[in-house]
């Protein structure tokens, strides 16, 4: 760095300032950034390839036959995999059956008041009401259970 001339000589101060700024600029331009370093690495000169390498590589290929997988390769399957799959399929079928036909609930026989008289009636699994002669009693409003 240039030496500071002192406060009395303004002209020299200006010259000193311009010199230090120039030095700073030079120092900054010399500073290596990671980006410039990466660019330098990418620009490194190409390694010389031996002329004999290419023919040697090509000549070596027909000597060796590649290992290819046999056309019909036998594969073992774990029995457990089949068991789990079969159980899952059965479970899905049972689920579909239950959803379609509903779960069986035994019918209940109760004594209810119907048209001002007590009757012994049966509720079926779909909550329909039948009397003792198996005649369907229309479901209307609430029946009081006794």
């Amino acid at each position: 760095m240039a030496e500071f001339p002192g406060p009395e000589n303004i002209k020299e101060i200006f010259i000193w300032q311009s010199i230090t700024m120039k030095q700073k600029r030079e120092k900054k331009s010399k500073r290596i950034t990671l980006k410039s370093l990466a660019a330098n690495l990418r620009r490194l000169p190409e390694v010389e390839i031996p002329e004999t390498l290419k023919p040697r590589l090509l000549a070596k290929i027909p000597d060796m036959q590649p290992k290819l997988a046999p056309a019909h390769q036998f594969r073992w399957y774990h029995a457990g995999d089949f068991g789990v799959t079969a159980a899952a399929v059965v479970f899905i079928f049972v689920l579909i059956f239950l959803i379609n036909y509903g779960l069986y609930t035994p019918s209940r026989i109760e004594i209810i008041e119907f048209d001002t008289s007590l009757r012994c009636a049966t509720w079926d699994q779909n909550n329909f009401l039948y009397d003792q002669n198996n005649t369907y009693l229309e479901k209307s409003g609430s029946y009081e259970l006794k």
Binding site: L34, E48, L58, K60
Partner: protein, 183 residues
């Protein structure tokens, strides 16, 4: 190359079709040799390992499942070949310890990178690269000189992508530190 053409190439490669493989060799041998030259710093060994890499790739072409590009797969094989050769070299060195000085002189003479140091800046950069740790050197080499993406480098080295990025950034900082006092 279009996706369809690439698929066709891949199918032919896996079927062991010689012509397709030949094209793949011609497309990649420079890159693999460069990789080997930087790793081994020995022209003869680099040439030998390049040949071994392509021979091994051809012999095991069926195991190429196209989970990565063909170039990445080749780099992976090359890297393994280098590791194997280094292991066997270590064994040899234990037996022939007396020939070390002679070997050093021979290695310097056959260093393919020595011929490239045409200017001072390049020479310093090579010198700085030599100061790196092996994992950093390989990460820098694969990414900046071989032009592989971080993901591809991670596949070659069998490391997480984050680790590769970290190695690269650490290596660049080491290089900068080395060069800042000299340039």
């Amino acid at each position: 190359m279009g996706l369809r053409a690439e698929r066709k190439n891949l199918k032919e490669l896996r079927q062991g079709r010689r012509k397709t493989y030949e094209a793949a060799v011609l497309q990649n041998y420079r890159s693999i040799y460069r990789f080997m030259a930087y790793l081994t710093r020995d022209t003869e060994l680099a040439e030998e390992l390049t040949q071994e890499t392509f021979a091994s790739a051809w012999a095991n072409i069926d195991s190429y499942k196209a989970r990565s590009s063909f170039k990445t797969w080749l780099h992976r094989i090359a890297y393994r070949k280098f590791i194997d050769s280094k292991r066997s070299q270590r064994r040899e060195v234990a037996f022939v310890a007396d020939l070390d000085v002679e070997n050093d002189n021979a290695t310097q003479a056959s260093d393919p990178l020595q011929r490239l140091t045409t200017d001072e800046h390049t020479r310093l950069l090579y010198e700085a690269m030599r100061s790196l740790k092996q994992d950093e050197y390989i990460a820098i080499l694969l990414h900046y000189i071989q032009g592989l993406s971080f993901r591809q480098v991670a596949k070659v080295l069998n490391l997480p992508v984050g680790t590769v990025k970290w190695q690269n950034s650490r290596a660049l900082k080491t290089l900068r530190k080395y060069l800042s006092g000299r340039v």
